[in-house]
């Protein structure tokens, strides 16, 4: 029997979380070491899955595992990855590992970086969240997908409300949780509708998504249910006009949680919207693609403008995520090969980039105790690694060739040309706006003169921080220079989606 890669990946974090809770609270470094060990296991395994999928030229669902869970209702624990989800599993592994490094938080020259307050509970909640995220990406069963989805959303509330930025954490945590729960409930209704209709059509009670794909939903059914299902999930993907929770949530969350949140959780929404919305209801997707593409255009352009006018360092990044996730939704909504391909790469690229951004923002904030951009400056002299990391992330963000952002955005725009050329012309303006705000933020925060108030109070970043920045940078440059280390596998995933779209 094959080694159960996926279930080990999914359940390692939750096992580690239980183990961490059993440790005494004052042994902070022991807790941290366990967390790092579990994250390393997941990183290695997800890398293994990714590399074997890529190098063996696989296609379709691989690493399939199947366990009975509640056969009477047709619910099974079914795992598998395809070309769309394998990069996201790797992404989660990377963000989890770097997130733990960033939150290590050992007392260091009096800088209160990372998590020093109750790290035991922090890592326990964070890892429950991680399990949920992995679970969504690998689930082949609709029920399980929801199960893991809620499991990922709930710890977010606690993580933000307890460890967040004191001024807005309660407001942001509440707002985020309500938005996401309402969205997922709407989607759940749609999922139950699919469940019953497929039972009526085929006489089999099942949540298996591969079977639901074949359930023969009628055009009317798909027209009615596509929007609730897609948008319900897309709330977590930050689609306009339901994006409002996201910048508030990003800003209030502690650094590692922001990394998870923007880096991985938003992909969860986009991915679920694709897997459940577009893949199970392809005829509905064709019907409503025009609406999604318009909403996404607003995301892209409006998000960029709003990011431009922010004066809070973290809000800039928060709104830039809104703008970039709009490109993902836009790529999906083109329903074309290039668009989907670009969206698949963009999910990974944006995940890594934004994790990098939030990591650096956290490093700056922990030392300066302010995120107000006019009060910052000159950080490059003290933390050159962080500055270079942020600049590289910035280039990804503005779609500079040679970085993964270009590899992702260019095909998306090609897809948009095929769908509606006017949208391409309108949304391309976001590239210049993004370049403006990224360059201005880089200049104001990292270059120039350090304000006198901060002079002498800023300490360099730790070795662990550097270890966290390095792989993130290498990944986005690697994909930018050599797209073939990711694109062929995403393409197999896209082929499968196009097959479903063509059949409907």
């Amino acid at each position: 029997m094959q080694f159960p890669f996926l279930s080990v990946i999914v359940f390692t974090p939750i096992a580690a979380s239980l183990l961490i809770l059993l440790m005494p609270a004052h042994k902070k470094n022991l807790v941290r070491s366990i967390a790092l060990g579990a994250a390393a296991i997941d990183l290695v395994l997800s890398l293994w899955v990714y590399i074997s999928y890529l190098t063996q030229g696989m296609a379709g669902y691989q690493f399939i595992e199947w366990y009975q869970w509640l056969p009477a209702l047709g619910i099974n624990l079914a795992f598998g990855v395809d070309g769309m989800s394998a990069p996201l599993v790797l992404l989660t592994g990377v963000v989890m590992f770097t997130g733990v490094l960033i939150s290590w938080g050992e007392e260091n020259h009096g800088v209160s970086a990372g998590i020093q307050d109750r790290p035991r509970e922090f890592f326990a909640f964070l890892f429950i969240l991680a399990s949920g995220v992995f679970g969504v990406f690998v689930s082949l069963d609709l029920f399980m997908l929801f199960f893991f989805y809620e499991m990922a959303v709930f710890p977010m509330y606690l993580l933000i409300a307890i460890w967040g930025w004191i001024q807005t954490r309660e407001y942001a945590a509440m707002k985020l949780t309500l938005y996401l729960f309402i969205g997922s409930v709407v989607s759940l209704v749609g999922a139950l509708a699919m469940y019953w209709t497929s039972y009526q059509n085929t006489g089999v009670l099942t949540f298996d998504m591969l079977q639901l794909e074949q359930a023969g939903f009628s055009q009317t059914f798909q027209n009615i249910w596509f929007l609730p299902v897609f948008l319900g999930f897309a709330v977590l993907g930050g689609i306009w006009p339901f994006h409002n929770w996201s910048p508030d949530g990003h800003v209030a969350a502690p650094t590692a949680v922001s990394m998870f949140h923007a880096g991985v959780l938003m992909k969860l929404g986009a991915f679920a919207a694709l897997r459940v919305g577009i893949m199970l209801l392809p005829a509905g997707a064709k019907q409503w693609a025009w609406l999604i593409i318009i909403l996404a255009t607003v995301n892209v352009v409006y998000g960029a403008f709003i990011a431009f006018v922010q004066t809070d360092f973290k809000y800039v990044i928060g709104f830039s995520s809104v703008s970039h996730m709009g490109l993902v939704a836009m790529g999906f909504a083109t329903l074309s090969r290039e668009g989907m391909l670009g969206a698949g790469v963009q999910m990974f690229s944006h995940g890594v980039m934004t994790a990098l951004f939030f990591a650096v923002v956290g490093m700056v904030y922990d030392r300066a105790h302010t995120r107000h951009i006019p009060d910052l400056g000159g950080f490059v002299k003290i933390m050159p690694w962080a500055a270079i990391g942020f600049i590289i992330g910035g280039f990804v963000s503005m779609g500079m060739p040679g970085f993964s952002g270009f590899v992702a955005e260019f095909p998306i725009f090609m897809g948009v040309w095929k769908a509606q050329w006017l949208i391409a012309v309108i949304s391309i303006i976001s590239i210049v706006i993004t370049a403006c705000y990224v360059l201005l933020v880089v200049r104001r925060v990292f270059f120039g003169k350090m304000p006198e108030k901060l002079e002498g109070h800023i300490t360099p970043i730790t070795a662990l921080d550097k270890i966290a920045i390095l792989p993130l940078c290498l990944l986005i440059i690697g994909i930018g220079l050599f797209p073939r280390i990711m694109v062929p596998m995403v393409q197999t995933g896209v082929d499968n989606i196009l097959r479903l779209l063509g059949a409907s």
């Binding site: 060739p401 270009f406 260019f410 725009f413 095929k418 050329w421 391309i428």
Partner: protein
Amino acid sequence: MDFLNTHLLSLILFIPSIAALVTLFLPKENLKLLRWFVLGASLVPLALTLYLWSKFNPDLPGFQFDQSYIWYPAIHSSLHLGVDGLSLTMVLLTTLLTPLAILASFNTTDRVKAYMMLFLFLETGMLGVFMALDLLIFFVFWEIGLVPMYFLINQWGSANKDYASLKFIIYTMGGSLGLLLGIQLLGVLFGTFDLPRLYQAWNSLTEGTLLGMPVSTVKAVAFWGFVIAFAIKVPIWPFHTWLPDAHTEAPTAGSMILAGVLLKLGAYGFLRLVLPLYPDQARIFAGALALLATAAIIFGAFGSYGQSDFKRLVAYSSVNHMGFVVLGIAAAGLAHGTEDAHIALNGAILQMFNHGLSAAGMFFLVGVIYERTHTRNLEDFGGLFPLVPIYGGILLFTSMASLGLPGLNGFVSEFLVVRGAYPLLTPYTALSMLGLLFTGAYILKGIKKVLHGPVNERWAHGEHKLTEINPREIIVMAPLMALILVIGVWPAWILNVINKAVVMLF
């Protein structure tokens, strides 16, 4: 040897980048090692380019030293490289000016490692544009080149560097949006970015509708998208306003490369993409282009004359000189395939090369005197000739090349442009020749203010006493001056390559 011959272009292209990565691991305190290593590394592409020049056969049509690597098969883009006589000339210019710019920055002491790495990356970016035979790769290198230049201006520039660097990058990126959209359109239409194939496919598409509009309308819009992107880079009036700021604030070596090579990227874009892809539109809009070119020549000269800052004076002169390049291109667009057009294009391409030499030289000379006096204000100089006779002689020589004195290179190329364009665009050419008069005026003004007149006593004695140009600086100028003279008296060696390419291409 076989490996060298088959991989020549990619070696020239990537050796600077590889050297930059090696530089990353050199100790940053050892300035001497850093400088000499980077200089040595930048001489390798020059040597390889000379070898390339010797192996290049100008009589063969099409592209030589063709190389293709897989890059992004999902959207049918590959790293396809190749050179013809046109790109070869530009590659030579780039690989020649980069070592000189690096040698010119040997006196930099501020973050030398990062500075030198940026220059090497910049060289790869520029060379990539000249070698690319894939439209997407062209764009990739086009944008990549902006990044090092942005940081060179932003980090090592003078007082107003923040404004100038942001203006530079936003102007160019914003201007490229039309180009980017056009590239996407072509990619979507034909499923390939390969230039030789696009030339055919796009030109055979003449009738019918596209995107719900007549093909000719779409082509006209796309034409202007391309033209604006390149016009900003050249720069053509009225898109030139980023240039004086960027040039003035950039460090000396940065200005050398900016004026010497980066401006040529725009003109090269016209020749490589606009004329072959849009022959009909180029004919229709040739008058408009010629008008803008004439405006650039005349207003550039006036603008230059009005400056009191020596570096700004030289910066505006670039607008003036590059105007002739565009005039030649407009003439070629109007009368595709005629002998006059060929003459004008010969002149335009040679003018690109020549301006690269003389502008780089002028900026360097401005840098030499700025470094000694810490002022660029023309009123602060005066009568420096007796104090620094060698410097004065070199400045005079380079200025005369810029002015277009017969016997030096500027005359050859400007004469060719004017000779080719005159029968085709008579009124514009006539006006431009009047503009040449003002070229003489601003150059003589510069020389007079700096070298002649009553001696400014401040530089004659005491702690501010002006020192003569040093041997390193003379070595920087020597190859430039030699080429200026050689092309002036015997242009055949380079015109032979250019002319054959022009006749085959246009």
